[in-house]
């Protein structure tokens, strides 16, 4: 990509410069980034399961490694991405059905509030695996 077109896309006057982005734009960017991340994870997930199919012993070892706090923390971040993508996606579906468009900012923040609650519940469920059992 040429420098000029990069500036046009992401520079100070572009629609992607943070202070130029409105609520809906943040939602759009977030949806795309989490979407790409989740597709990458999907194929990672498939390849890990393939490991289980091909070699049972090494899969059990792999899963033992994945149960370490650092990887469980990454799992939690994955859960956050899924929750955001799902709740923002529901918002898109609602708008496509003609529901809530006039109050689109409010709907966004309602969905984010639901996401925050789900993330907290997720953290509560997962925390045992990060910090150890009580």
């Amino acid at each position: 990509m040429k420098v000029s077109s990069f500036k046009w896309l992401f520079g100070r006057n572009s629609e992607f410069w943070p202070t130029n982005m409105n609520t809906g734009m943040w939602a759009w960017v977030g949806h795309r980034l989490t979407g790409i991340l989740l597709v990458v994870y999907l194929f990672l997930h498939l390849s890990f399961l393939s490991q289980a199919s091909l070699n049972h012993d090494s899969f059990d070892q792999l899963m033992e490694t994945m149960a370490q706090p650092l990887f469980v923390l990454l799992d939690f971040l994955l859960v956050c991405a899924v929750i955001f993508h799902a709740m923002n996606g529901l918002r898109v579906v609602l708008f496509d059905m003609g529901i809530g468009i006039r109050k689109q900012k409010l709907v966004f923040w309602i969905m984010m509030a639901i996401s925050a609650v789900l993330v907290l519940v997720g953290f509560w469920l997962i925390s045992v695996l990060i910090f150890g059992g009580a």
Binding site: G35, L46, L49, E64, A67, V128
Partner: protein, 127 residues
């Protein structure tokens, strides 16, 4: 970003749009069931996933159905979403037929591979 507004025919685009929404709603249900059964239902959450555990879960026909349905729906949703992102860029929009073909092949191969991958786990305990 793409200058060509319509990369595919309007009809095909509308179906892609519709199925993306339908699969989105299905995914929320299927993924919820998948995560709950895999990590929380009936197993000690402090015990990590094992081959034996997967074999036990996949003794249930319902769970095999959930897993395979999830595989098909998530592959469609993920790859169709990737297509949407790609077609926003000129370099891909110019070659949208090649993009469609490539993603279709990736999807079909992954689906078949994903189905085969679970075979060694199914019916191990005679359930």
């Amino acid at each position: 970003m793409a200058d060509k507004r319509l990369a595919t025919s309007k009809v095909a685009g509308t179906w892609a749009w519709f199925f993306q929404r339908l699969s989105a709603v299905l995914l929320i249900v299927l993924l919820g069931v998948h995560i709950w059964i895999t990590h929380f239902a009936d197993i000690d959450p402090e015990v990590h996933i094992t081959v034996a555990g997967v074999e036990t879960r996949l003794d249930q026909l319902l769970y095999i159905a959930v897993d395979y349905a999830l595989l098909a729906v998530v592959l469609f949703h993920g790859l169709n979403g990737a297509r949407t992102v790609m077609l926003d860029f000129d370099m891909f929009a110019k070659r949208h037929r090649a993009v469609d073909a490539a993603l279709f092949i990736v999807g079909v191969v992954s689906l078949i591979w994903g189905i085969i991958v679970l075979f060694p786990f199914i019916g191990v305990n005679g359930g």
